[in-house]
Protein backbone atom coordinates (compact mmCIF):
# COMPACT_ATOMS: atom_id res chain seq x y z
CA UNK A 1 0.00 0.00 0.00
CA UNK A 2 2.64 2.45 1.07
CA UNK A 3 5.02 1.48 -1.72
CA UNK A 4 2.25 1.84 -4.26
CA UNK A 5 1.60 5.33 -3.02
CA UNK A 6 5.27 6.20 -3.12
CA UNK A 7 5.44 4.94 -6.68
CA UNK A 8 2.39 7.01 -7.63
CA UNK A 9 3.96 10.04 -5.98
CA UNK A 10 7.09 9.62 -8.09
CA UNK A 11 5.10 9.17 -11.28
CA UNK A 12 3.20 12.34 -10.42
CA UNK A 13 6.43 14.23 -9.79
CA UNK A 14 7.95 13.15 -13.09
CA UNK A 15 4.74 14.05 -14.92
CA UNK A 16 4.64 17.49 -13.34
CA UNK A 17 8.31 18.13 -14.07
CA UNK A 18 7.96 17.12 -17.69
CA UNK A 19 4.74 19.06 -18.18
CA UNK A 20 5.68 22.19 -16.29
CA UNK A 21 9.27 22.67 -17.35
CA UNK A 22 9.12 20.66 -20.57
CA UNK A 23 6.85 23.14 -22.33
CA UNK A 24 8.95 26.14 -21.41
CA UNK A 25 12.19 24.32 -22.23
CA UNK A 26 10.83 23.22 -25.60
CA UNK A 27 9.81 26.77 -26.38
CA UNK A 28 13.25 28.13 -25.59
CA UNK A 29 15.02 25.33 -27.44
CA UNK A 30 13.09 25.82 -30.64
CA UNK A 31 13.71 29.53 -30.35
CA UNK A 32 17.41 28.81 -30.26
CA UNK A 33 17.18 26.60 -33.33
CA UNK A 34 15.06 29.19 -35.11
CA UNK A 35 17.76 31.83 -34.75
CA UNK A 36 19.89 30.25 -37.46
CA UNK A 37 17.15 30.78 -40.06
CA UNK A 38 17.79 34.46 -40.44
CA UNK A 39 18.73 37.69 -38.79
CA UNK A 40 16.11 39.19 -36.52
CA UNK A 41 15.68 42.84 -37.38
CA UNK A 42 13.54 44.66 -34.87
CA UNK A 43 11.63 47.76 -35.88
CA UNK A 44 10.73 50.31 -33.24
CA UNK A 45 9.53 53.89 -33.42
CA UNK A 46 12.57 56.15 -33.94
CA UNK A 47 12.10 57.62 -30.46
CA UNK A 48 12.43 54.09 -29.11
CA UNK A 49 15.51 53.21 -31.12
CA UNK A 50 14.48 52.67 -34.75
CA UNK A 51 16.01 49.64 -36.44
CA UNK A 52 17.99 47.13 -34.47
CA UNK A 53 20.50 46.25 -35.82
CA UNK A 54 21.06 49.27 -38.06
CA UNK A 55 23.99 47.81 -40.00
CA UNK A 56 23.74 44.54 -41.88
CA UNK A 57 26.56 42.78 -43.71
CA UNK A 58 26.34 40.34 -46.59
CA UNK A 59 28.52 39.13 -49.44
CA UNK A 60 27.69 39.75 -53.07
CA UNK A 61 25.42 37.04 -54.44
CA UNK A 62 24.69 35.58 -51.00
CA UNK A 63 21.11 35.66 -49.74
CA UNK A 64 20.46 37.97 -46.82
CA UNK A 65 17.60 36.41 -44.86
CA UNK A 66 15.85 38.84 -42.59
CA UNK A 67 13.10 38.24 -40.05
CA UNK A 68 11.47 41.62 -39.66
CA UNK A 69 9.71 42.16 -36.34
CA UNK A 70 7.83 45.22 -35.16
CA UNK A 71 7.88 45.85 -31.43
CA UNK A 72 5.29 48.62 -31.43
CA UNK A 73 3.37 49.97 -34.42
CA UNK A 74 3.10 49.25 -38.13
CA UNK A 75 6.41 49.72 -39.94
CA UNK A 76 7.52 48.87 -43.43
CA UNK A 77 10.77 47.70 -44.98
CA UNK A 78 12.35 48.57 -48.31
CA UNK A 79 15.81 48.96 -49.73
CA UNK A 80 16.59 52.36 -51.16
CA UNK A 81 17.00 52.97 -54.90
CA UNK A 82 15.26 49.79 -55.85
CA UNK A 83 11.87 49.23 -57.36
CA UNK A 84 10.98 46.31 -55.12
CA UNK A 85 7.67 46.80 -53.34
CA UNK A 86 7.96 47.53 -49.61
CA UNK A 87 7.10 44.86 -47.06
CA UNK A 88 4.72 45.78 -44.26
CA UNK A 89 5.83 44.82 -40.77
CA UNK A 90 2.74 44.32 -38.64
CA UNK A 91 3.19 44.39 -34.87
CA UNK A 92 3.72 40.97 -33.40
CA UNK A 93 4.04 39.22 -36.74
CA UNK A 94 7.30 38.13 -38.34
CA UNK A 95 7.80 39.28 -41.93
CA UNK A 96 10.45 37.24 -43.71
CA UNK A 97 12.49 38.80 -46.49
CA UNK A 98 15.31 37.38 -48.54
CA UNK A 99 17.59 39.80 -50.40
CA UNK A 100 20.41 39.09 -52.81
CA UNK A 101 22.70 41.83 -54.05
CA UNK A 102 24.54 41.65 -57.36
CA UNK A 103 26.79 44.63 -56.79
CA UNK A 104 28.94 45.49 -53.82
CA UNK A 105 28.39 48.76 -52.06
CA UNK A 106 26.43 50.42 -49.33
CA UNK A 107 22.67 50.24 -49.51
CA UNK A 108 20.13 52.02 -47.38
CA UNK A 109 17.09 50.28 -45.95
CA UNK A 110 14.31 52.38 -44.56
CA UNK A 111 10.90 52.38 -42.94
CA UNK A 112 8.04 52.81 -45.41
CA UNK A 113 5.15 53.36 -43.02
CA UNK A 114 4.76 56.57 -41.07
CA UNK A 115 5.57 55.74 -37.47
CA UNK A 116 5.81 59.19 -35.90
CA UNK A 117 7.29 62.60 -36.70
CA UNK A 118 10.77 61.10 -36.92
CA UNK A 119 9.69 58.24 -39.17
CA UNK A 120 12.06 59.30 -41.97
CA UNK A 121 15.04 58.99 -39.62
CA UNK A 122 14.36 55.29 -39.38
CA UNK A 123 17.06 54.09 -41.75
CA UNK A 124 19.82 51.53 -41.71
CA UNK A 125 22.56 50.36 -44.02
CA UNK A 126 23.41 47.11 -45.71
CA UNK A 127 27.09 46.67 -46.49
CA UNK A 128 27.45 44.37 -49.47
CA UNK A 129 31.01 43.09 -49.58
CA UNK A 130 32.72 41.92 -52.72
CA UNK A 131 35.43 42.74 -55.24
CA UNK A 132 34.84 46.17 -56.67
CA UNK A 133 35.41 45.83 -60.45
CA UNK A 134 34.88 49.34 -61.59
CA UNK A 135 35.15 52.27 -59.26
CA UNK A 136 31.63 53.62 -59.03
CA UNK A 137 31.15 56.98 -60.61
CA UNK A 138 27.80 58.59 -60.71
CA UNK A 139 26.90 61.75 -62.54
CA UNK A 140 26.61 64.77 -60.29
CA UNK A 141 22.99 65.89 -59.90
CA UNK A 142 21.77 68.59 -62.31
CA UNK A 143 21.55 71.28 -59.65
CA UNK A 144 25.33 71.01 -59.22
CA UNK A 145 26.17 70.99 -62.92
CA UNK A 146 23.78 73.88 -63.49
CA UNK A 147 25.16 75.74 -60.51
CA UNK A 148 21.87 76.26 -58.71
CA UNK A 149 22.22 77.24 -55.06
CA UNK A 150 19.45 75.22 -53.46
CA UNK A 151 19.22 77.49 -50.46
CA UNK A 152 19.00 80.76 -52.37
CA UNK A 153 15.61 82.51 -52.33
CA UNK A 154 13.53 81.97 -55.47
CA UNK A 155 10.34 83.87 -54.86
CA UNK A 156 8.95 85.60 -57.93
CA UNK A 157 6.50 88.51 -58.24
CA UNK A 158 3.62 86.69 -59.88
CA UNK A 159 -0.06 87.43 -59.46
CA UNK A 160 -2.07 84.78 -61.24
CA UNK A 161 -5.63 85.54 -62.28
CA UNK A 162 -6.39 81.88 -62.90
CA UNK A 163 -4.60 78.59 -62.59
CA UNK A 164 -2.50 77.93 -65.71
CA UNK A 165 -3.84 75.07 -67.81
CA UNK A 166 -1.76 72.89 -70.11
CA UNK A 167 -4.89 72.09 -72.12
CA UNK A 168 -5.60 75.74 -72.83
CA UNK A 169 -1.93 76.25 -73.57
CA UNK A 170 -1.94 73.45 -76.14
CA UNK A 171 -5.07 74.89 -77.73
CA UNK A 172 -3.29 78.16 -78.35
CA UNK A 173 -1.10 76.29 -80.82
CA UNK A 174 1.80 78.57 -80.08
CA UNK A 175 5.01 77.74 -81.87
CA UNK A 176 8.15 77.97 -79.83
CA UNK A 177 11.32 77.09 -81.60
CA UNK A 178 12.92 73.89 -80.44
CA UNK A 179 16.46 75.00 -79.86
CA UNK A 180 15.43 77.63 -77.40
CA UNK A 181 12.91 76.01 -75.15
CA UNK A 182 12.34 72.35 -75.81
CA UNK A 183 15.74 70.97 -74.86
CA UNK A 184 15.78 69.01 -71.67
CA UNK A 185 18.61 71.02 -70.15
CA UNK A 186 16.67 74.15 -70.74
CA UNK A 187 13.62 72.69 -69.09
CA UNK A 188 15.69 71.66 -66.11
CA UNK A 189 17.43 74.93 -65.56
CA UNK A 190 14.61 77.42 -66.11
CA UNK A 191 11.87 78.12 -63.66
CA UNK A 192 8.32 78.56 -65.03
CA UNK A 193 8.70 82.26 -64.37
CA UNK A 194 11.92 82.41 -66.43
CA UNK A 195 10.09 80.68 -69.26
CA UNK A 196 7.11 82.97 -68.90
CA UNK A 197 9.39 86.03 -69.15
CA UNK A 198 11.14 84.57 -72.18
CA UNK A 199 7.87 83.86 -73.99
CA UNK A 200 6.57 87.29 -73.11
CA UNK A 201 9.71 88.76 -74.63
CA UNK A 202 9.11 87.03 -77.93
CA UNK A 203 7.37 89.02 -80.67
CA UNK A 204 4.57 86.43 -80.86
CA UNK A 205 4.28 86.53 -77.11
CA UNK A 206 3.47 90.17 -76.90
CA UNK A 207 0.12 89.47 -78.53
CA UNK A 208 -0.94 87.15 -75.71
CA UNK A 209 -2.37 87.99 -72.34
CA UNK A 210 -0.35 87.17 -69.21
CA UNK A 211 -2.71 84.31 -68.38
CA UNK A 212 -2.37 82.87 -71.86
CA UNK A 213 1.40 82.90 -71.53
CA UNK A 214 1.04 81.00 -68.25
CA UNK A 215 -1.09 78.47 -70.10
CA UNK A 216 1.73 78.05 -72.59
CA UNK A 217 4.20 77.54 -69.75
CA UNK A 218 1.88 74.91 -68.30
CA UNK A 219 1.69 73.15 -71.64
CA UNK A 220 5.46 73.38 -71.94
CA UNK A 221 5.80 71.70 -68.51
CA UNK A 222 3.23 69.07 -69.34
CA UNK A 223 5.07 68.09 -72.47
CA UNK A 224 8.03 67.12 -70.33
CA UNK A 225 6.24 64.43 -68.38
CA UNK A 226 4.01 61.41 -68.86
CA UNK A 227 0.85 60.35 -67.13
CA UNK A 228 2.68 57.28 -65.80
CA UNK A 229 5.33 59.47 -64.21
CA UNK A 230 2.65 61.62 -62.63
CA UNK A 231 0.78 58.70 -61.17
CA UNK A 232 4.05 57.25 -59.85
CA UNK A 233 4.82 60.65 -58.39
CA UNK A 234 1.37 60.92 -56.90
CA UNK A 235 1.75 57.58 -55.16
CA UNK A 236 5.22 58.39 -53.85
CA UNK A 237 4.05 61.81 -52.73
CA UNK A 238 1.12 60.33 -50.80
CA UNK A 239 3.33 57.80 -49.05
CA UNK A 240 6.33 59.96 -48.30
CA UNK A 241 5.55 63.65 -48.56
CA UNK A 242 1.87 64.25 -47.75
CA UNK A 243 2.25 63.72 -44.00
CA UNK A 244 4.13 67.04 -43.84
CA UNK A 245 3.35 68.88 -47.09
CA UNK A 246 -0.30 67.91 -46.99
CA UNK A 247 -2.42 65.85 -49.35
CA UNK A 248 -3.41 69.02 -51.17
CA UNK A 249 0.18 70.30 -51.25
CA UNK A 250 -0.66 73.22 -49.02
CA UNK A 251 2.10 72.46 -46.56
CA UNK A 252 -0.50 71.59 -43.92
CA UNK A 253 0.08 67.87 -43.41
CA UNK A 254 -0.60 66.26 -40.06
CA UNK A 255 2.97 66.74 -38.90
CA UNK A 256 3.13 70.37 -40.02
CA UNK A 257 1.18 71.32 -36.91
CA UNK A 258 4.24 70.46 -34.88
CA UNK A 259 5.76 73.73 -36.13
CA UNK A 260 2.61 75.80 -36.33
CA UNK A 261 1.93 78.09 -33.43
CA UNK A 262 4.56 76.56 -31.22
CA UNK A 263 7.70 78.45 -30.45
CA UNK A 264 10.66 77.02 -32.36
CA UNK A 265 12.10 75.80 -29.08
CA UNK A 266 9.03 73.67 -28.49
CA UNK A 267 8.75 72.35 -31.98
CA UNK A 268 12.38 71.31 -31.99
CA UNK A 269 11.69 68.72 -29.30
CA UNK A 270 9.90 66.39 -31.70
CA UNK A 271 12.52 66.58 -34.37
CA UNK A 272 15.65 67.08 -32.32
CA UNK A 273 16.42 70.37 -33.98
CA UNK A 274 14.76 73.51 -35.21
CA UNK A 275 12.51 73.00 -38.19
CA UNK A 276 10.67 75.25 -40.59
CA UNK A 277 7.14 74.88 -41.86
CA UNK A 278 6.83 72.57 -44.88
CA UNK A 279 6.70 74.29 -48.27
CA UNK A 280 3.27 75.13 -49.67
CA UNK A 281 3.36 73.72 -53.22
CA UNK A 282 0.21 75.59 -54.16
CA UNK A 283 1.89 78.96 -53.60
CA UNK A 284 2.81 80.37 -57.07
CA UNK A 285 5.21 82.98 -55.68
CA UNK A 286 7.37 80.21 -54.29
CA UNK A 287 6.88 77.49 -56.84
CA UNK A 288 6.92 79.33 -60.16
CA UNK A 289 10.38 80.65 -59.41
CA UNK A 290 11.86 77.18 -58.94
CA UNK A 291 13.53 75.34 -61.78
CA UNK A 292 12.86 71.56 -62.01
CA UNK A 293 16.54 70.94 -61.24
CA UNK A 294 16.13 72.91 -58.02
CA UNK A 295 13.18 70.77 -56.91
CA UNK A 296 15.08 67.65 -57.88
CA UNK A 297 18.05 68.84 -55.84
CA UNK A 298 15.94 69.67 -52.80
CA UNK A 299 14.42 66.20 -52.77
CA UNK A 300 17.79 64.55 -53.36
CA UNK A 301 19.74 66.51 -50.78
CA UNK A 302 17.02 67.39 -48.29
CA UNK A 303 16.44 70.59 -46.43
CA UNK A 304 19.65 70.73 -44.41
CA UNK A 305 18.30 71.47 -40.95
CA UNK A 306 14.78 72.43 -41.97
CA UNK A 307 13.25 69.06 -41.10
CA UNK A 308 13.06 68.01 -44.77
CA UNK A 309 14.73 64.61 -45.10
CA UNK A 310 17.29 63.72 -47.74
CA UNK A 311 15.87 61.23 -50.22
CA UNK A 312 18.93 60.60 -52.36
CA UNK A 313 19.61 57.23 -50.80
CA UNK A 314 15.97 56.22 -51.01
CA UNK A 315 14.53 57.13 -54.40
CA UNK A 316 15.79 56.20 -57.81
CA UNK A 317 16.48 58.99 -60.25
CA UNK A 318 13.20 58.21 -62.04
CA UNK A 319 11.27 58.31 -58.81
CA UNK A 320 12.61 61.74 -57.88
CA UNK A 321 11.70 63.10 -61.31
CA UNK A 322 8.25 61.54 -61.02
CA UNK A 323 7.75 63.42 -57.76
CA UNK A 324 8.99 66.66 -59.33
CA UNK A 325 6.54 66.16 -62.19
CA UNK A 326 3.75 65.55 -59.73
CA UNK A 327 4.61 68.70 -57.75
CA UNK A 328 3.90 70.85 -60.79
CA UNK A 329 0.32 69.58 -60.83
CA UNK A 330 -0.29 71.74 -57.76
CA UNK A 331 0.37 74.75 -60.04
CA UNK A 332 -0.75 73.66 -63.47
CA UNK A 333 -4.07 72.18 -64.53
CA UNK A 334 -4.48 69.34 -67.03
CA UNK A 335 -0.83 68.44 -66.85
CA UNK A 336 -1.49 64.95 -68.12
CA UNK A 337 -0.94 64.63 -71.82
CA UNK A 338 -4.25 62.91 -72.40
Amino acid sequence: MATRRIRAEWIARMLVLVLVFGLSAMALASRWINRSQGIDVHARMPEAGGWSPTILNVDVGEPLNLRLISDDVVHGFAVGQSNQPPVDILPGKVAEVSLTFDDPGTYTFFCTRWCGPNHWRMRGTIEVNGPLDIPETSDPPPYLTLGIDLDSPHEVPVDLVRRPSAKRGAALDFDISEEDYLTHDHYLSLSPYDTWLAVKGLPEGSQLSDSEIWDIVAWRWASNTTSEAISTGEELYAQNCAACHGQTGKGNGVFARLVEGDTPADSSSDFGHKIVAPTDFTDPIHMLGAAPARLHGKILRGGMGTGMPSWGQIFTEDQIWAIVDYLWTFQFLNTNKE
Partner: protein
Protein backbone atom coordinates in the same frame (compact mmCIF):
# COMPACT_ATOMS: atom_id res chain seq x y z
CA UNK B 1 -35.24 32.56 18.00
CA UNK B 2 -35.53 35.46 15.66
CA UNK B 3 -32.73 34.10 13.54
CA UNK B 4 -34.62 30.92 12.66
CA UNK B 5 -37.82 32.78 11.96
CA UNK B 6 -36.11 35.04 9.43
CA UNK B 7 -34.68 32.04 7.65
CA UNK B 8 -38.13 30.65 7.10
CA UNK B 9 -39.41 33.83 5.50
CA UNK B 10 -36.50 34.06 3.13
CA UNK B 11 -37.35 30.72 1.60
CA UNK B 12 -40.18 32.25 -0.40
CA UNK B 13 -38.35 33.43 -3.44
CA UNK B 14 -40.91 35.49 -5.26
CA UNK B 15 -43.75 36.08 -2.85
CA UNK B 16 -46.26 37.74 -5.15
CA UNK B 17 -48.86 35.93 -7.15
CA UNK B 18 -48.51 35.15 -10.80
CA UNK B 19 -50.72 38.06 -11.93
CA UNK B 20 -48.07 40.42 -10.52
CA UNK B 21 -45.28 38.82 -12.49
CA UNK B 22 -47.43 38.70 -15.62
CA UNK B 23 -47.98 42.42 -15.27
CA UNK B 24 -44.26 43.06 -14.84
CA UNK B 25 -43.61 40.84 -17.86
CA UNK B 26 -46.07 42.76 -20.03
CA UNK B 27 -44.66 46.13 -18.98
CA UNK B 28 -41.09 44.98 -19.61
CA UNK B 29 -42.05 43.65 -23.05
CA UNK B 30 -43.53 47.09 -23.67
CA UNK B 31 -40.32 48.81 -22.64
CA UNK B 32 -38.21 46.53 -24.79
CA UNK B 33 -40.32 46.34 -27.93
CA UNK B 34 -42.54 49.42 -28.16
CA UNK B 35 -41.55 51.11 -31.41
CA UNK B 36 -40.40 54.63 -30.79
CA UNK B 37 -40.63 56.61 -34.01
CA UNK B 38 -37.54 58.71 -34.40
CA UNK B 39 -38.19 62.25 -35.59
CA UNK B 40 -38.12 61.89 -39.33
CA UNK B 41 -35.32 63.59 -41.13
CA UNK B 42 -34.48 63.53 -44.80
CA UNK B 43 -31.36 61.35 -45.24
CA UNK B 44 -28.41 63.47 -46.26
CA UNK B 45 -24.84 62.88 -47.26
CA UNK B 46 -22.70 63.53 -44.26
CA UNK B 47 -18.92 63.75 -44.19
CA UNK B 48 -17.20 63.49 -40.85
CA UNK B 49 -13.51 64.19 -40.46
CA UNK B 50 -11.96 62.10 -37.71
CA UNK B 51 -8.37 62.34 -36.57
CA UNK B 52 -6.72 59.28 -35.11
CA UNK B 53 -3.79 59.66 -32.78
CA UNK B 54 -2.41 57.40 -30.08
CA UNK B 55 -4.77 56.60 -28.34
CA UNK B 56 -7.83 58.61 -29.21
CA UNK B 57 -10.15 59.66 -31.99
CA UNK B 58 -10.95 63.35 -32.37
CA UNK B 59 -13.83 63.94 -32.32
CA UNK B 60 -14.56 60.79 -30.39
CA UNK B 61 -18.34 61.07 -30.48
CA UNK B 62 -20.05 61.34 -33.86
CA UNK B 63 -23.75 61.83 -34.52
CA UNK B 64 -25.68 61.14 -37.70
CA UNK B 65 -29.33 60.58 -38.53
CA UNK B 66 -30.68 57.19 -39.52
CA UNK B 67 -30.47 56.69 -43.27
CA UNK B 68 -27.69 59.21 -43.83
CA UNK B 69 -24.99 58.38 -46.34
CA UNK B 70 -22.01 58.76 -44.06
CA UNK B 71 -18.39 59.21 -45.10
CA UNK B 72 -15.85 59.03 -42.33
CA UNK B 73 -12.58 60.65 -43.39
CA UNK B 74 -9.95 59.05 -41.21
CA UNK B 75 -6.73 61.00 -40.78
CA UNK B 76 -3.89 59.51 -38.80
CA UNK B 77 -1.66 62.07 -37.17
CA UNK B 78 1.22 59.94 -35.91
CA UNK B 79 1.30 56.25 -36.81
CA UNK B 80 -0.83 53.88 -38.84
CA UNK B 81 -4.29 53.59 -37.31
CA UNK B 82 -7.51 51.95 -38.35
CA UNK B 83 -11.19 52.31 -37.62
CA UNK B 84 -13.50 49.37 -37.03
CA UNK B 85 -17.17 50.16 -36.58
CA UNK B 86 -19.04 47.80 -34.25
CA UNK B 87 -22.44 46.65 -35.40
CA UNK B 88 -21.72 47.53 -39.01
CA UNK B 89 -18.55 45.41 -38.96
CA UNK B 90 -16.66 47.51 -41.49
CA UNK B 91 -13.16 48.92 -41.26
CA UNK B 92 -10.48 51.07 -42.86
CA UNK B 93 -6.82 51.80 -42.30
CA UNK B 94 -5.10 55.16 -42.60
CA UNK B 95 -1.50 56.23 -42.41
CA UNK B 96 -0.38 59.82 -41.88
CA UNK B 97 -0.73 61.78 -45.09
CA UNK B 98 -3.18 59.38 -46.67
CA UNK B 99 -6.78 59.97 -45.69
CA UNK B 100 -8.92 56.86 -45.72
CA UNK B 101 -12.63 57.01 -46.49
CA UNK B 102 -15.27 54.81 -44.92
CA UNK B 103 -18.58 55.15 -46.74
CA UNK B 104 -21.74 53.53 -45.52
CA UNK B 105 -25.44 54.08 -45.13
CA UNK B 106 -26.32 54.50 -41.47
CA UNK B 107 -29.20 52.05 -41.64
CA UNK B 108 -28.78 50.52 -38.18
CA UNK B 109 -29.96 52.75 -35.35
CA UNK B 110 -28.30 53.02 -31.97
CA UNK B 111 -24.94 53.85 -30.51
CA UNK B 112 -21.98 51.97 -31.88
CA UNK B 113 -18.42 51.90 -30.62
CA UNK B 114 -15.65 52.29 -33.14
CA UNK B 115 -12.13 51.25 -32.33
CA UNK B 116 -8.66 51.27 -33.76
CA UNK B 117 -8.10 48.19 -35.88
CA UNK B 118 -4.33 48.38 -36.37
CA UNK B 119 -1.99 47.79 -33.42
CA UNK B 120 -0.73 51.25 -32.52
CA UNK B 121 0.87 50.76 -29.14
CA UNK B 122 0.08 49.71 -25.62
CA UNK B 123 -3.40 51.18 -25.27
CA UNK B 124 -4.46 50.25 -28.80
CA UNK B 125 -7.30 47.93 -27.66
CA UNK B 126 -8.85 50.82 -25.73
CA UNK B 127 -8.69 53.44 -28.47
CA UNK B 128 -12.43 53.89 -28.75
CA UNK B 129 -15.01 56.36 -30.07
CA UNK B 130 -18.78 56.32 -30.49
CA UNK B 131 -21.08 56.77 -33.45
CA UNK B 132 -24.63 57.75 -32.59
CA UNK B 133 -27.20 56.95 -35.22
CA UNK B 134 -30.39 58.63 -34.06
CA UNK B 135 -31.57 58.43 -30.45
CA UNK B 136 -29.96 55.78 -28.30
CA UNK B 137 -32.94 53.48 -27.90
CA UNK B 138 -31.01 50.66 -26.28
CA UNK B 139 -29.83 52.98 -23.51
CA UNK B 140 -33.30 54.41 -22.89
CA UNK B 141 -34.95 51.01 -22.94
CA UNK B 142 -32.20 49.83 -20.61
CA UNK B 143 -32.84 52.70 -18.22
CA UNK B 144 -36.55 51.93 -18.37
CA UNK B 145 -35.88 48.30 -17.56
CA UNK B 146 -33.60 49.30 -14.68
CA UNK B 147 -36.32 51.43 -13.16
CA UNK B 148 -38.91 48.71 -13.70
CA UNK B 149 -36.60 46.08 -12.20
CA UNK B 150 -36.04 48.28 -9.15
CA UNK B 151 -39.75 48.94 -8.66
CA UNK B 152 -40.72 45.32 -9.27
CA UNK B 153 -38.09 44.02 -6.86
CA UNK B 154 -39.30 46.29 -4.08
CA UNK B 155 -42.96 45.90 -4.85
CA UNK B 156 -42.77 42.12 -4.91
CA UNK B 157 -42.05 42.28 -1.19
CA UNK B 158 -45.36 43.96 -0.43
CA UNK B 159 -47.20 40.74 0.13
CA UNK B 160 -44.20 39.38 1.91
CA UNK B 161 -44.64 42.09 4.49
CA UNK B 162 -48.34 41.37 4.49
CA UNK B 163 -47.64 37.75 5.45
CA UNK B 164 -45.36 38.78 8.24
Amino acid sequence: MRHKQTRKQIIEIFPRQSWFWSLIGVVSLGIVFVPIPSTFSQPVEKTLRVEASTFEFTPAVLSVNPGDLVTIELNSTDVVHGLYLDGYDIQITAQPGQTAYLKFVADARGTFRFRCSVSCGALHPFMIGKLKVGPDLLLWRGVGMAVLAALAAVWSFHSWSAIT
